[in-house]
């Protein structure tokens, strides 16, 4: 009967209830879309960075991260590889030689990041084959190079042309070499697209005069959430006096900090949105209470206990909030599913302006469950807090006064 009373009371004033439910629905819808876009973009940024730059975990020689020079390289052998790859959650290990060199073609020169890679392993981490736009991808012991599209454009170099690289090798050796351009790859993040050159690991070790050495080993993990556990496992297995192991949060502190700052601003926006909705809900609850004072007085007179009245009124608020939350989530879910699989890519000047900041010019969406239940909790929490008002009024209610004043 209490559920029946609560449900029917909601529809006593249909227009008001619909407006309140509508505002909750709108708030949940907006919040879900806003947060989905934010979290989707964060995930994408982390994934882009982790997939392209770093992997979710990296192993280096101790001290390399503080002083990223080629002299801080470490030797890579089958024993180390086996230790790493036999760790639960590690799918594969991707060795790299990373350094810089001047890249030159005809009368154009530009500083570039040279990545010596094991082609198949690298593809497993960065899906680099999928980014090829021209020519062919590298093979083990390949003599050629894959140049990023932005750099190729700058140098006006094409497939089959010869790229000159000049840099500094291991322990101060000169590094100079000619590499024919085997392919061109396009990357979403402009910072990478404008400066990267891929050569095979063997060729890089030859170029920098560092046989059997690598600067980093990035790990392909099964799930990003397992990173902390894998880090702990590897710490126990490897010689930590010689090596250092870092997770993506340590590898990309600037990105993490940027995300956190942006996340806070997103949350502030949400709080403002919920505060506005909260005032609307409070107004409804106040009206609901005020117009039923006589009724409350009568109910108490005939023997209804305060706690039962409070329960019934609380049920009303809970039902109203639930309808709003369910409606909000139901509307937002198909929209977000659609955009999750079909991100919105920007074009034109707007896209260029965004890409200048090193960010992919697209809106990505997330479907994390927390996205939805966090909005539900926020609304329920608000209803719970605001619900204290009618509960308080009922607690203080004196039937004679309530009926007289009404």
């Amino acid at each position: 009967m209490y559920i029946k009373i609560a449900w029917r009371n909601i529809w006593r004033n249909k227009r008001r209830s619909l407006i309140t439910i509508g505002s909750i629905t709108f708030a949940v819808l907006l919040a879900c879309i806003m947060r989905s876009m934010q979290l989707g973009s964060y995930d994408r940024m982390i994934e882009n960075a982790a997939r392209f730059y770093t992997g979710y975990i990296q192993i280096h020689k101790a001290g390399y991260w503080d002083e990223k020079i080629i002299d801080n390289s470490f030797s890579w052998d089958q024993e180390l590889l086996a230790k790493v790859e036999n760790t639960e959650g590690v799918n594969s290990a991707v060795p790299r030689v990373e350094s810089f060199a001047l890249a030159s073609f005809e009368n154009k020169t530009k500083g570039g990041m040279v990545l010596g890679i094991s082609p198949e392993r690298e593809h497993e981490l960065t899906r680099i084959k999928d980014k090829m736009v021209e020519g062919e991808y590298l093979q083990d012991n390949d003599e050629g190079a894959v140049v990023s599209e932005g750099l190729a454009k700058y140098l006006k170099i094409g497939v089959g042309d010869t790229l000159v690289l000049i840099g500094q090798g291991y322990h101060g050796a000169n590094a100079a070499g000619l590499f024919f351009v085997k392919g061109i790859a396009k990357f979403p993040v402009p910072e990478q697209n404008n400066q990267t050159i891929f050569i095979s690991l063997k060729k890089a070790q030859w170029f920098y005069a560092m046989p059997d050495l690598i600067t980093s080993m990035s790990l392909v993990v099964d799930k990003a959430k397992n990173v902390d556990r894998i880090l702990a496992d590897l710490n126990g297995k490897l010689d930590m006096n010689y090596l250092e192991i870092m997770g993506w949060k340590d590898l990309m502190p600037d990105l993490l900090q940027g995300i956190e700052i942006d996340n806070i601003s997103g949350r502030i926006m949400l709080w403002i949105l919920y505060a506005v909705i909260g005032f609307g809900m409070f107004g409804t609850f106040m009206m609901m209470t005020a117009e039923r004072m006589y009724e409350f007085g009568v109910m108490m007179s005939i023997g209804m206990k305060r706690v039962k009245m409070q329960f019934s009124v609380f049920l009303e608020m809970l039902m109203m909030s639930s309808i709003g939350v369910i409606a909000g989530i139901s509307i937002s879910l198909p929209i977000l599913v659609y955009y999750f699989y079909n991100p919105v890519f920007m074009t034109g000047e707007k896209a260029e302006a965004i890409e200048q900041f090193g960010v992919e010019a697209a809106y990505f969406f997330s479907l994390q469950p927390s996205l939805f239940y966090n909005q539900a909790w926020a609304i329920f929490f608000m209803a719970w807090i605001l619900g204290f008002y009618p509960l308080y009024v009922i607690q203080r209610l004196k039937p004679v006064e309530a009926m007289r004043e009404a």
Binding site: M1, R8, E295, V298, I302, G303, K305, R306
Partner: protein
């Protein structure tokens, strides 16, 4: 017959205004089981205050109220709510039904609060609605009923839990003469058939004529108590 309500030296002073108002000034009254009593008097004489106090809705400033030999004047609010539920039926001047419940559900409501089982509730409610002549309105909401019909539902609800007595505060104040006549006939019938004790406060001459006992209040004091 035994005394259902016994008010002894009841005083009630309202102190909310600058000048305290003495609403009751030493009222002594005993209502016997099965009585059909009207409390009459001019506006402001203390009728509603007296009804509120003997109904456990308000506390006296001084004096005792014994209902079925229990002193309700000193009961706490929570105890009074329970006491009212078990012992007292109310009919108010304004229609006092729960607007979102049907006629049948309104009558059932008190029995629900008393935790009676559904079959028993429905049987008793339908019996009462038939007695009141509104069984055909069982599934209607109060807003679909006339004022007289609503008051009949209120009387049915007040009787539903078989209380020790029923307090009716100006129950006919908002009714036309035909509805008043109907309601009074029903209450008189219930008084006779179910031996229900009724106490009214009223200005209405038609109610006064039907009453078997008339208690007249003036300035918070009983100035006459006549049994017909």
């Amino acid at each position: 017959m035994s005394g259902v309500i016994k008010a002894e030296n009841l005083h009630k002073v309202y102190s909310e205004t600058k000048i305290p108002v003495k609403a009751l000034n030493g009222v002594n009254l005993e209502i016997m089981e099965g009585e059909f009593t009207a409390i009459v008097g001019p506006s402001g004489c203390g009728k509603t205050t007296l009804l509120n106090i003997i109904g456990g809705l308000d506390h006296p400033t001084m004096g005792n109220v014994l209902v079925a030999n229990e002193d309700i004047a000193n009961m706490k609010d929570g105890e009074l709510i329970d006491f009212r539920l078990k012992n007292i039926g109310f009919v108010f001047q304004a229609y006092n039904l729960i607007p979102v419940l049907t006629t049948l559900e309104n009558v059932e409501f008190i029995m629900l609060l008393q935790k009676q089982d559904k079959t028993q509730r429905e049987k008793r409610s339908m019996e009462l609605l038939e007695e009141m002549g509104i069984a055909d309105k069982a599934n209607m909401r109060p807003s679909e009923l006339s004022g007289g019909q609503q008051q009949r539902v209120a009387v049915a609800r007040a009787l539903a839990s078989k209380p020790k007595f029923i307090l009716a505060d100006e129950p006919t104040a908002n009714l036309d003469s035909k509805s008043t006549e109907n309601l009074l006939d029903i209450m008189a019938k219930m008084n006779k058939e179910e031996n229900a004790t009724f106490v009214f406060s009223t200005h209405d001459q038609r109610v006064i004529e039907k009453a078997k006992r008339i208690v007249t209040l003036e300035d918070g004091v009983i100035i006459s108590d006549v049994k017909k």
